[in-house]
């Protein structure tokens, strides 16, 4: 399959900090509308991978193409985000001093230039959309609460909500269910699945139950490069994987 018809295309991407190789010529293809689960032990390079995709970290070598044409390695975070790549962090980071509503309003797809925001007024559709997201994320009753006062789980939801508000083509989701109850976990899984229809999603997760729940193609990272790829059952059967990860 060639780069053109992929949504995200990583080839031979390497990054190293002070000698430590976080990514070692990593290659990865994500198709439009695809959902992919990424697993791997700590230090496998999961977060670093997200960093290089979103422009937080510049790769030392390798190519990263979005929609087969745009070279992400040349761009800064904001530009990449505006291409339609949204990211949810491992440690939920929301704007603690803003209300839930404001958090969503800031995330909502809208012109991002200072003067535009200076004169911005919430339109009806915007309001509708935010209400919608509030319902999905079950935060409607807390819309006026300061985000800082939310529980860990609620922050997770809020951040997912912000992701939705951005309406990106590709979602990068880092451990979405950490600190969630089983019910919430299941619910998140469902949410991600029906997002996957319209968008592509990359989920990084430790929680095997959750990954199984998603039931999508799994990529196993190890020491900064792909160790195995396939269905969860397939990879869990893979001897190498068992060695480095499952049967640690």
């Amino acid at each position: 399959m060639s780069a053109e018809d992929t949504l995200l295309y990583l080839d031979g991407v390497s990054v190293s900090f002070d000698g430590f190789r976080a990514l070692n010529s990593l290659s990865l293809l994500i198709e439009p509308g695809e959902m992919r689960a990424i697993i791997g032990p700590n230090g496998a390079g999961k977060t670093t991978m997200m960093d290089v995709i979103t422009g937080k970290t510049r790769p030392d070598t390798g190519t990263i193409l979005f929609e087969g044409k745009t070279d992400l390695t040349a761009m800064r975070e904001a530009g990449i985000a505006n291409l339609g790549i949204g990211r949810k962090f491992q440690r939920p980071t929301v704007f603690e001093n803003h209300t839930v509503w404001d958090n969503l309003e800031l995330a909502l797809k809208a012109p991002r230039r200072p003067l535009k925001t200076l004169t911005y007024a919430v339109s009806r559709d915007d309001r509708v959309r935010i209400e919608e997201i509030l319902d999905i994320t079950r935060l409607s009753p807390k819309r006026e609460r300061q985000a800082g006062s939310l529980s860990h789980g609620e922050k997770q939801w809020l951040e997912i909500g912000m992701l939705l508000a951005q309406d990106p083509k590709l979602l990068l989701v880092d451990e979405p269910v950490a600190g969630m109850t089983d019910a919430e976990t299941e619910q998140t899984a469902r949410l991600l699945k029906d997002i996957a229809g319209k968008h592509s999603v990359i989920v990084v997760e430790h929680d095997m139950v959750f990954v199984r729940e998603l039931g999508v193609k799994v990529t196993v990272l190890h020491e900064g490069s792909v160790l195995a790829e396939g269905s969860l059952d397939a990879v869990s059967a893979n001897q190498q994987v068992i060695d480095v990860y499952l049967g640690r």
Binding site: T54, K56, R76, E77, A78, A81, N82, G86, R87, F89, T93, V94, F95, E96, N97, H98, D102, E105, L106, A107, R112, R113, P114, T117, L118, T119, Y120, A121, M162, Q166
Partner: protein, 379 residues
């Protein structure tokens, strides 16, 4: 639409503050001009000038709070913008002296005459026109801030590093203006002004006029600032303060936002400086000193960082205290002032306006332990 935007700023707090300013704008002229000199309600020119000075500082504090309180840029160099604005105005006033200088030279200011400069340096031209000077008051600090910020924010200089280079900026400017070769009067600066827009600068009526102008400028500055803060742009700014990288991942070019606030703030500081000079009657390089920048930061901290009204309150209170103590206990006032700063930081980290909130969850230690691992946010 602009009105809509401006209306954003007019919440209850703004109402109170504007009311106070309006009161001052009326009461002071009446008390200064409309009362007999010996009546208990009379305000001497000294007092008017003093109040005027406080409000200029309040405007500076407001500008500083906009970048520090809402964008988290701790500027230790805002005195630079303040003073540049002051010099622009000073140069205008200097040119107004005309042939009334001691040497009676119609063009050259006295300090140039006795250091026998032959003709006016190019950068002094145009300052004989008020409109030109007025533009420069905003343009010069604005341009400097824009250039400085453009580089600093693009290369993502943050936290202490940013603070220190702003300090370096103002320090360098101070040294530069101390040099007599610069043609700004060296250490003596610009002084002995005669008139502004044709009015005798020492006349009580002119002083009152300048005072009212300052009140108006402060009011405008306040409405502008609070509208910005209330707008979505304001929300982005606060978001930048709290989690800049997260804002980038939402697709906002945070550099632009910082630059916007930073430049605007510098312009406000410039205006403050310009109003300050005719009221105190002198502008000279020591206004650039890093110490005065730090003092401005302290006003904001005392009043309450991140609350516009607080910045204004802090500036007025601290300076009132300063004027009072330097006369009341000239030997000890530094203890009083120094002590104040320590106590405020220890017991009202959110400033006077944050006092109420502070009282609820007392015990400074709690906040401290929680926040122990040193992270540069907040700087």
């Amino acid at each position: 639409m602009l009105t809509r935007f401006l209306l954003l700023g007019l919440d209850k707090k703004a109402g109170v503050l504007l009311a106070v300013l309006a009161l001052l704008a009326v009461a002071v002229p009446v008390m200064a001009l409309g009362t007999a000199p010996d009546s208990a309600w009379h305000l001497s020119t000294h007092t008017v000038a003093l109040l005027g000075k406080y409000l200029c500082f309040a405007l500076l504090a407001l500008a500083l709070d906009l970048v520090w309180g809402y964008v988290g840029i701790l500027s230790l160099g805002h005195a630079a913008f303040f003073t540049l604005g002051g010099y622009a105005m000073g140069m205008y006033l200097m040119r107004q002296i005309g042939p009334r200088g001691v040497y009676g030279n119609p063009i050259l200011p006295d300090f140039m005459v006795f250091l026998n400069w032959k003709e006016l340096p190019w950068y002094w031209h145009g300052f004989d026109q008020f409109w030109f000077a007025a533009i420069m008051v905003v343009l010069v600090p604005g341009a400097l801030a824009f250039a400085f910020g453009w580089f600093a924010f693009r290369s993502r200089v943050t936290g202490v590093y940013l603070s220190i280079i702003t300090q370096a900026l103002t320090f360098a400017l101070m040294l530069a203006f101390f040099r007599n070769d610069m043609g700004f009067g060296g250490n003596n600066g610009l002084t002995d002004f005669k008139e502004i827009l044709g009015f005798d600068i020492q006349a009580a009526s002119t002083r009152v006029g300048l005072f009212v102008a300052t009140v108006v400028a402060l009011a405008i500055g306040y409405v502008l600032a609070s509208s910005i803060v209330a707008s979505k742009l304001g929300k982005v700014l606060v978001a930048v303060r709290d989690a800049e990288s997260r804002v980038r991942f939402l697709g906002y070019e945070t550099e632009r936002y910082k630059l916007f606030a930073w430049t605007l703030s510098a312009c406000m500081a410039g205006v403050a400086g310009a109003l300050y000079v005719p009221q105190v009657g002198i502008i000279n390089p020591s206004e650039f000193s890093p110490a005065s920048s730090i003092e401005a930061v302290i006003w904001v901290a005392v009043g309450g960082r991140g609350t516009l009204a607080g910045a204004i309150l802090g500036a007025v209170l601290v300076n009132f205290g300063k004027s009072y103590f330097t006369a009341a206990l000239p030997e000890l006032w530094l203890f009083a002032l120094g002590g104040l700063f320590v106590l405020v930081t220890l017991f009202l980290p959110k400033g006077i306006l944050g006092l109420a909130a502070q009282l609820r969850q007392r015990l400074p230690s709690r906040g401290a332990v929680a926040a122990k691992p040193a992270d540069q946010k907040g700087v």
